[in-house]
Amino acid sequence: MGTPIKDVVIPSTAPKSLMLQKHADYIASYGEKKDDYEYVMTEFLRMNGMYWGLTGMALAGQRDRMDRSEVICFVKSCQHECGGFSCSIGHDPHLLSTLSAVQILTLYDALDAVDTEAIVKWVKSLQQPDGSFYGDRWGEVDTRFSFCAVACLTLLHRLEELDIEKAVEFVVSCMNFDGAFGCRPGSESHSGQVYCCVGMLSVTGHLHHINADQLGWWLCERQLASGGLNGRPEKLPDVCYSWWVLASLKIIDRLHWVDKIEIVVVVVVVVVVVVVVVFVVVVVAAVVVATVA
């Protein structure tokens, strides 16, 4: 039955190979662009962005192009007295940026540059009686934060400081009727949240709570004819879901259930499109700023 399904169309002229050097060059120069409106506007995720950029460079074998001491210095300046890290200097601490900070320092083998005891104490303090985690003192609960908390303490080799049984209980309570996970109990299943829950259960050694065949099925259903992956049924594909979905499938040992060839094509095309779009945005922003100033 030909019922229309939401998907994208990859043009036949789309690139067929990854331009790795271009991506590495882009990341390496990201913080150097003057008049970069986009850079300023993304300050609220600076720490996360640095982690993604560094990881990208490490994967591309070009980590040494980044200035290690500058980065460590920056990360250090973002630790607050409570132990948590903010996204950038002058912002409030949050679990999202705290995980990124710990990940960056782990990449550089520089955890001793900060007060790790304080991190452990702060992350521990965010756990709630029902096992969930707040993102910060303002009380937002989300399975993203369950993942951040356990990943953070695992990297610090202090996972036992948390109430793992309760933490697992909360994440499992976010499992839905389709076998996938949402951000809170009852929330719609979403690929990003699935990654966080699967990651959390994996890191804490509780993957047995998952029905791998059922979840694997839901995850491989995210793949559309174009090869791309979506976040929920009947939504358009987006390359970020290539990460959330494939990483989840890998963890539950079902990665072979997606069609590899189609995915690679989509990832290459989307990454190239993103690079071009960002370049255009930066140029336009610079023109706008120059005109207004």
Partner: protein
């Protein structure tokens, strides 16, 4: 994960530099600090720079006043994803004991402009918590969902309100309205499960009703993943063999040459359960299930051929001991 979108400054035409605002003449703005050895020299627009320089000054002095409250509004307009601005605003609102109903009106406007931003929705939730008044929330989230019926933040907020303040009454009717508009809306199907799970529960009567409801929608669009997932969910704690009408429904669609992978997956589930339960006609059931898997792998759902081949092998290895030949 941290989503945020922002438009260019709307107030640019009417914006007045802080240097020309006498009520700010006592404040020394604090410039951006990118660390002891800044890698980057950033040149922002003057407005952006000034607003945040003065914001930093307010935070450093821990000033909680009308002017600092207004400043958070300016800062949030320039960058609504800046969570520290919202945190500080809440501190001021609390300190000055401000009118929270007014704040609710304000945050409604901001959410309408930036409906996919985590911070603004969280701000709204805190205000509603402080007010202990959810009376506007269903109407508000409905308004947002009218523009984007799958807005994840809107649904989470709506679920929280319903659960926190027991607003279950009319929600099933709302979900039915949404499904009439778009029966492929996965969020609406999820909400349906959420409501029933937390109210009547899936009693035998409810299960029968939900099966019929869902099957009617499946007939209209047999490849609707959400409807099939919902149907599976309704029956998840049950034995499929107690619902012979389910297999009859599937066979009816199959006989009309419908080859939706979800339909065929449902049939395979049925056969698998029959095999598990040791029902009669074991060989026939296994053959039917395997045939469906092969059809899916080779024709109807080739993207997931690995999965269907796994299913086929799995069935053969579990139930095929008496059957000779390859799987």
């Amino acid at each position: 994960m941290s989503e945020g979108s922002s438009d260019d400054c709307n107030a640019q035409d009417t914006w007045v530099s802080f240097k020309d605002r006498p009520e700010w003449s006592d404040v020394k703005p604090i410039p951006q600090d990118d660390g002891p050895n800044p890698v980057v020299q950033i040149a922002y627009s003057d407005q952006f720079k000034e607003v945040f320089d003065y914001f930093r000054a307010m935070v450093a002095a821990d000033e909680k006043s009308e002017r600092s409250l207004n400043l958070t509004k300016e800062a949030a307009e320039l960058n609504p994803a800046n969570y520290s601005v919202w945190n500080y605003r809440r501190n001021i609102l609390s300190e000055l004991n401000k009118d929270l109903k007014g704040e609710l009106r304000y945050i409604s406007q901001v959410i309408e402009e930036h409906p996919k931003n985590y911070q603004v929705w969280h701000h709204r939730r805190v205000i509603v918590e402080w007010l202990e008044d959810p009376s506007q929330e269903l109407e508000f989230t409905e308004k947002i969902l009218q523009d984007d019926a799958k807005n994840y933040h809107a649904w989470q907020h709506r679920q929280w309100c319903i659960q926190q303040f027991s607003l279950w009454d009319k929600e099933l009717a709302y979900v039915e309205k949404l499904l009439k508009e778009d029966f492929r809306n996965n969020s609406a199907w999820n909400q349906r499960h959420f409501i029933i799970n937390n109210t009547t529960g899936f009693t035998p009567e409810v299960v029968a009703k939900e099966m019929k409801f869902t099957q009617d929608y499946i007939r209209k669009a047999p490849n609707n993943e959400s409807a099939w997932n919902y149907l599976k969910g309704v029956l998840s704690e049950k034995k499929l063999c107690e619902f012979p009408s389910l297999m009859e429904f599937c066979l009816e669609l199959y006989s009309k040459h419908i080859r939706s992978p979800f339909l065929m997956a449902c049939m395979i589930d049925n056969y698998e359960e029959m095999l598990e339960q040791g029902k009669p006609k074991k060989e026939e059931n296994l053959q039917n299930a395997t045939q469906l898997c092969n059809e899916l792998a080779e024709e109807c759902d080739t993207l997931r051929r690995e999965y269907w081949q796994y299913m086929s092998r799995s069935l053969a290895s579990k139930y095929g001991t008496d059957v000779s030949g390859d799987s």
